[in-house]
Amino acid sequence: MQPCFNLEKLWINMNSIVISLKKDIQYFLVTVIVLIVFTSCGESNQPTDRQFKGFSVPLNFPQPTYNFAKNPVTEAGFLLGKKLFYDEILSLDGTIACATCHIQTSAFTQHGHDLSHGINDLLTLRNTPPVQNMAWKRFFMLDGGVLDLDLFAINPITAHNEMGETMANVLEKLRNHKDYPSLFDKAFGSKDINTERLLKALSQFQLMCVSADSKYDKVKRNEGASFTSDEQAGYTLFLQKCESCHKEPLFTNEAFTNNGIPIVNPEDKGRASITLNPKDEYRFIIPSLRNVAETAPYMHTGKFRTLSDVLDHYSSGMIDHPTLDSSFRIPNGLGIPLTSEEKRVLTLFLHTLTDQNFMKNPLLAQ
């Protein structure tokens, strides 16, 4: 109701101004207004174009952690990586691609699935995390077992419950494929297809999956957007209650923490399975909250269906455990106290982290 009314008022105001002007100026003004409306519409609805512009660091982001000197992102390398990411050839029976579980329109997660289905309908151990802003990550996997993006893809390719293949077989299939040898040639200067090239091409695509164009980013970069007063209230609360872990601008400090969610699979000890330190039991990496409104269900278990479930968890659902983060131990209980009004504005703020330009970017689409 409210915005409609305002618009009407604006239109009436403008009309009265327009009428009071001479005819030629009138035409001129109308054209300008139409043009402005047209171009701004185009900007907000039309995702960035298909043109490859290389990797660049968004103004409000820190320097990436990925070593680009070892694997410079080129258009040919990126396009090869993209083709591989979307190609079921990486799986044993040709049914599963990376993109089966990492779907662009949900920030490269599998929206709606607590766990994902790999080959032979086997379930993954954990909820599928987004593939976004990989260039800034130091740890991969929710327990941080992998430290180099280039080494990551061996996991899904060879995991019996994801793609079930062997690296050697994948390389062989690619070598015998009608297109791949020449695509490797374009990307790396010869038709050789080996482990290094396969992994580096996949990295090049994933490195380009940068999400930095949400409303939040536009506010931060002073690109003409501003928070509503509710969003601003939510942001202020976020800075007080959440930002110590979900640190700006990537919305994670990449620490491993137990945030008190119910243990679904006691065998999955999280960080402790890597460090073998009992203090790390049931600790998982703090996830980024970018595009969080689009990546439900939540947590490594995928047992939280909505953001409101998550906030209820923080305010009143936390389960005690010896490794629960000490910041959640408060005088009369556990968690982060939040009123329903606070939850409402926090949710509105979390929605400002949604980046449609990223999820609809044709450059990243199949």
Binding site: V146, D148, D150, L151, T166, L171, E196, S273, L276
Partner: protein
């Protein structure tokens, strides 16, 4: 004191002179080569896959897979100096299923008289975190390292031994030892990197241009299950990335013995 020193210096001179009588003086600017032969054994028997070996009165084992990495090879000269093989040419995977992998060829070694060999059983920590482009040959996860790599915890398996064991109560139970752990990337973690030195006893490894001696080193698998801190195959049939793996690594560090040198 000075007298003692002179005496020592003289005796060294005499000793080295005496060996010079039979061999030309090693000229470290010249290079020779060497073949190191790993002879896997089970007790006093030659080891074979799929063959049943008797561990003790009640347990027999049949091994299906036996592999280990040997890297960072160093030759210790009897004069106290060392020759460190160039790192990049110093990674080997000894695979019981492929006889050719059990002899490793070392080249461009400075002439000298060497008294022992040292190596890492496994992969050093720097290599364990190296970029994918430096993981070639036996370190290529699409190739020979295929079953010697933990994808979920980026790291090489240093030592793999698996198969079946039989006791009076249980027939053909599987056992599996996959031991690795390079010490952690940015926080200390499980470290099973073992540097092993095999002294040649009274034998001398003479590296000379144009000669290729063979050094035989035996690796007795039964060592794991015998003696102090023996691994009980019944109590711990499966050991992988876990604190207990340290015990297995401590045992395999003692399984190498000098055999012989053939000039």
């Amino acid at each position: 004191m000075i007298r003692l020193f002179i005496f020592f210096a003289l005796s060294i001179l005499v000793l080295s002179c005496s060996s010079n009588v039979t061999d030309p003086t090693p000229d470290s600017s010249k290079k020779g080569s060497l073949l190191v032969v790993f002879e896997n054994k089970f007790g006093s028997e030659e080891f074979e896959l799929l063959k049943r070996f008797t561990l003790n009165d009640s347990i027999t084992v049949v091994t299906e897979d036996f592999k280990y990495y040997v890297s960072n090879i160093v030759l210790n000269n009897s004069n106290g100096s060392q020759y460190v093989l160039p790192k990049e040419t110093s990674y080997f995977l000894i695979n019981q299923a492929q006889i050719i992998t059990q002899s490793i060829n070392l080249q461009y070694i400075p002439e000298g008289d060497y008294s022992s060999i040292s190596f890492i059983l496994g992969i050093d920590s720097a290599k364990s975190v190296s970029p994918v482009g430096e993981r070639i040959g036996v370190l290529d996860v699409a190739g020979e390292a295929k079953s010697m790599y933990w994808t979920w915890n980026s790291g090489y398996i240093f030592f793999a031994l698996e198969g079946m064991y039989t006791t009076p109560r249980l027939i053909n139970n599987s056992f599996k030892y996959h031991i690795g752990g390079f010490g952690g990337y940015n926080a200390p973690n499980l470290n099973n990197i073992k540097t092993i030195t095999v002294p040649f006893g009274s034998s001398v490894l003479k590296i000379r241009e144009g000669n290729k001696p063979h050094v035989h080193i035996s690796a007795d698998i039964s060592t794991l299950f015998k003696g102090d801190e023996a691994i009980s195959i019944e109590a711990n049939p499966t050991v992988m990335f876990s604190p207990y793996s340290v015990n297995v690594a401590n045992k395999y560090a003692t399984m190498f013995q000098f055999g012989k040198i053939m000039d």
